[in-house]
Amino acid sequence: MEITRRRLLVLLPAAAVAWRYVLAGTPEASPNYQLTEHWWGMLIDIPKCIGCGSCVRACSEENDVPEGYYRTWVERYHVADWKIERPEVESPDGGKNGYPPHPDSNGKNFFVPKLCNHCVDSPCTQVCPVGATFISPDGVVLVDKNYCLGCRYCIQACPYGCRFLNPKTQTAEKCSLCYHRITKGLNTACCEVCPTGARQLADLKNPQDPIHEFLKTHTIQVLKPHMATEPKVFYNGMDGSVR
């Protein structure tokens, strides 16, 4: 076959595209892990949280989180009887070292663990100009630190304040739902060490997961539902004052 200039123009782009796919291979998270068989989320059972800070300490150690930054944190709410719309919220050191007793014994006090909500319609992934933050096929919002520019758009976009710029790498960082653990069949570090079961990892695609029964039999809420981000961190027993 004679290679004319016209044929060369057609063949070269096609060959370039084909070569890319040959080089790409088929990356798989773990040998036995199937990306399409899972859809991860988490259940937070607020009435069980004792504010011990184990989850915060474990997350920091497991994910090498810089000092003073938190991928997950625990807030203490103090709601006085007469001002439910203006609760006092504190989280010294992210609740890492627990909490001293609250000086005001009136009203109600309770703990609320927070983390990335791994939203289905996540604003953070929509604003990333280079595709460095994305939703994996198994429903986890991840950051590709080798591709992140550090522009901070995602940090501004997150309505839950779950992202920060890692001062060492100068890239965006957030909860990965311990992706390196769950793809190996392990629990997340925070759920593993939670002494009361206030945090539970949930695979929403697994019909055997106890989350389905829990969601059916309890009144569940998500944070900031008016943002329409479709969060996958579900809260049980959440007070109306929680923001």
């Binding site: 370039a16 069980k48 011990c52 150690e61 007793p101 609250h102 595709g131 939703i135 392990l186």
Partner: protein, 139 residues
Amino acid sequence: MAFIAFVILRAAVVPRSFGEYGHYRGLAISEIASRPVAFAGHDTCEGCHTDVLDQKKLGKHMVVACEACHGALAKHAEDPGSVPPVKLDTAILCAHCHEANSAKPKGFPQVSTVDHSAGIACNTCHQPHRPKIETGVKK
């Protein structure tokens, strides 16, 4: 000519696995998943420490994972001989969970450590794996 230059430049600049699953680098998924773990998980601990597991089954700490108190022990699990677990100070550790606080659930066992033990290490009286003090089972 310009089109060929564009295609060649694009192939050189855009990462190879970009677009494989969506508008991102597909290889990032396996890179993130391949990170090593720090916490071994309670199943790994229970594989060797069956005596402790038997003790825990008899008490309320049955549901508490080993690394909730002992910390990350994946390195210990890989090489138990050379990486011993850290010795714990129960006077501080136990207080993280059991120090009285009005924000804790009402049914959760909590004490004012100052009144309860005056700073004495909790494991002086309580066996941490089976904390309830029963007659004749002290420590």
